[in-house]
Symmetry: C2
Subunit: 106 residues, 2 copies
DNA sequence: ACGATACGTCACTGATTGGTTACGTATCAA
DNA sequence: TTGATACGTAACCAATCAGTGACGTATCGT
């Protein structure tokens, strides 16, 4: 796999738990980098890199405010993930049904 | 991040496009490894490894049938992904609304 | 019993990842 | 202007990843 445009891949961006935590945090509202770095007990450059990945996936936007860069959630690309996983809902509902039947039979 | 139990991480398992394609394929029904390897123009060991990752994430199950190993979709863990992303639906609907308003204003 | 088939796994490789420290730049406050 | 602050980025490192070919094992057909 030569992952063309892997930078823009939403699935990959979201596969990292720290990145998901950042997104989760941004649901409460925009935040500057330092605020995020403080919450996740990781070095600032590390967070900065994660934000870079999220930016390339268009999951966050950067706004300059003085010497701060405020990051804001841009949830639209997550529709892609939702859309993909939604195609499996009927399948796991079947699984749930089977489990239910199995339990009832006992 | 020291990714404890990273093997079992559904998000990571699903972040690879080949692995998603395998899952997509398995929605049409269980399949032996060779059938999959043929469809994705990758070497059999490569597919075998991907299946290993999916297995550890409990997204597929392996059933032995003679000398074949039939893999079957196990969609339940995808609920985790669906659940996470669902928390963002209201946010992107706001975005869609803003976009709509913006277009109407023009 | 024997060859072909269907697979898992090992050993290896190159690319990518997540993390670090060090440094540069822009902004604010004095 | 000068120093502190808020950040991006480059250089680097160890670990992980996706892929390969080589090998071993179990099963089927004969």
């Amino acid at each position: 796999m030569h992952r063309a445009l892997a930078h823009a891949d939403v699935f990959r961006a979201v596969s990292d738990p720290t990145r998901r935590a950042i997104l989760d945090r941004l649901r409460a509202g925009p935040a500057p980098v330092n605020a995020l770095a403080a919450e996740f007990s990781q070095s600032r450059p590390a967070i900065s890199k994660h934000l870079g990945v999220l930016r390339k996936a268009h999951l966050v936007s950067e706004r300059r405010a003085g010497r701060e860069r405020v990051y804001e959630l841009r949830p639209m690309p997550l529709q892609q993930v939702a859309g993909w996983v939604e195609g499996y809902r009927s399948f796991w509902q079947v699984s749930l049904n089977n489990l239910k039947k199995h339990l009832e039979k006992k």
